[in-house]
């Protein structure tokens, strides 16, 4: 039996096609995935992301604990509310999960981890906490709604209550703020401006209705996936997992090797990989041939060897098929992809493909 978010009935009322995702019954789309995608790029859309796991890390040892647990360095966070994207790694340098950390104070951080990896993450985090003065608390009393798109902020602000609206309106990009039981982050997973709003579960259906009345289009997991792919954002379990290094997943920018004295789980393994060299490249692909790029398709890189698509699909904004792929070092700018048995030409590009409604690559 799949778990249901506080918005489950709202999804059914809206005629959503529901699917199981990470143990949760979630909306795939409400009729047309492509229309939902365009709504987010051109206007405003909302996603139920209540399945994601919120974990509060509190205590005098919170900062030191997270500096050990995470590959990125929470010591970078100086402004209250500031968010940091990071991986947590295995000692071998594989990715346990990727997550967002909001800095509330030196003794209080809020983490948002993936739904499908919830149990593993919580066990892993508890296992690393030995010797640190920290308390980990899962906040399953909170639901989460992401409102995204060029008009998302205006529309959300028009329906938020006074104090929450005041806090939300003042947020810079990648910063969050608390107002009573609510927490609003100016963050997202679409490449558009907007908010991710954590709120008490019981208040969520009414808030969803208010957003809808303000003209915010409900959007499902399908659109969320094509939006994040266009934005060049990784999806855990597809683009990286415990068997692969962040350095081969386009995530080197999230690993803080400086200061050199900071020890974090996986550091030694990553330093060894860097020293050995020959790391595979993580790249964007634009299909120039026919068909649609999909995960696990083989990328034929000539003399450099073979790579693999990690995420692929059709880009509604660009009107072509795009993908993220891991290819051998030394791969040139043109490759072929084995699309259902036929080699099709594709071009390497640097993600993102789309940001703030605009194409970032030449088509």
């Amino acid at each position: 039996m799949s778990k249901q978010t506080p918005l489950y009935q709202k999804h059914l009322e809206a005629g959503a096609r529901m699917v199981n995702f990470g143990g949760w019954s979630m909306p795939l789309h409400y009729g047309s995935q492509i229309e939902e995608h365009h709504a987010v790029r051109r206007d405003a859309g909302m996603f139920d992301v209540s399945h994601m796991t919120v974990v509060d890390v509190q205590g005098n040892g919170a900062r030191d604990y997270l500096r050990f647990l995470l590959a990125n360095d929470v010591a970078k966070l100086k402004v209250p509310g500031k968010a940091l994207y990071s991986c947590m790694l295995t000692p071998e340098g594989g990715v346990v999960d990727d997550l967002i950390t909001y800095y509330l104070s030196d003794t209080f951080y809020r983490l948002v981890v993936n739904a499908a990896t919830r149990d593993k993450d919580l066990a892993w985090m508890r296992g690393r906490a030995t010797g640190f003065d920290v308390l980990l608390q899962e906040r399953d009393d909170l639901a989460m709604v992401a409102v995204q798109g060029p008009h998302a902020r205006d529309k959300a602000l028009s329906v938020l209550d006074g104090e929450v609206a005041r806090v939300a309106d003042a947020l810079s990009p990648f910063v969050g703020g608390q107002a009573g039981d609510w927490f609003v982050g100016r963050t997202g997973y679409t490449g558009e401006d907007g908010f991710e709003i954590m709120l008490p579960a019981a208040e969520t259906p009414a808030f969803w209705d208010r957003l809808k009345a303000a003209g915010v289009q409900p959007a499902g997991l399908g659109a969320r996936d094509t939006l994040r792919l266009e934005a060049g954002m990784n999806l855990y379990g597809q683009d990286m997992d415990e068997q692969v290094s962040p350095l081969e997943s386009g995530l080197a920018w999230t690993v803080a090797f400086e200061p050199a004295v900071r020890d974090f789980v996986g550091r030694a393994a990553l330093e060894k990989q860097k020293a050995a060299g020959g790391l595979r490249r993580f790249v964007g692909l634009v299909l120039e041939g026919r068909g649609v790029l999909r995960g696990h398709m083989r990328v034929l890189c000539g003399a450099a060897g073979e790579g693999e698509i990690t995420s692929g699909g059709f880009s509604p904004t660009l009107g072509v098929s795009i993908a993220l792929a891991r290819v051998p070092a030394g791969t040139g700018e043109r490759v072929e992809v084995d699309v259902r048995g036929k080699p099709q030409p594709a071009r390497l590009v640097k993600p993102p493909f789309v940001r703030n409604g605009q194409a970032c690559v030449e088509i």
Binding site: L28, I34, R290, F314
Partner: protein
């Protein structure tokens, strides 16, 4: 609730077949099939003039979710394909039995389409799949 016109024949793999007055048959995918697939983004039609065995994979429809083969419901020669789908694959979603048709066959055996499921049998199969 999906739409299943009574004047068409259907296959287990969700193609529909319409017998035309000139003896050819037009083939597409059912409303139920397009609904399951989601928004279509790419359609590959067979070559005009090619001959297809009954049950041969001869076209591909790709949605935002996945690629699916389309099978020739009866043996025959491909006499026309829907060229519009190259630029507008979404026609299969918006009008699966009309502008979203895929290809037209000249059947090797003129009566072959009569052996396919009628609308009631197809609808019963879809309902049984739940």
């Amino acid at each position: 609730m999906s739409n299943t016109p009574a004047d068409l024949r259907y296959t287990k793999s969700h193609e529909w077949v319409r017998s035309e007055s000139d003896g050819t048959v037009t083939v597409g995918i059912s409303d139920h099939a397009q609904e399951l697939l989601g928004d279509l983004v790419f359609v590959e039609t067979p070559e005009v003039g090619s001959s297809q065995d009954a049950g041969a994979a001869c076209a591909v429809v790709e949605s935002v979710k996945a690629a699916s083969d389309v099978y020739a419901p009866v043996a025959g020669e491909v006499v026309a394909v829907n060229e519009q789908l190259a630029d507008s694959p979404e026609l299969v979603n918006s009008d699966p039995y009309g502008e979203g048709w895929l290809f037209r066959l000249k059947p090797a055996d003129a009566g072959a389409a009569g052996g396919l499921m009628d609308a009631d049998a197809y609808q019963a199969m879809v309902d049984a799949e739940g």
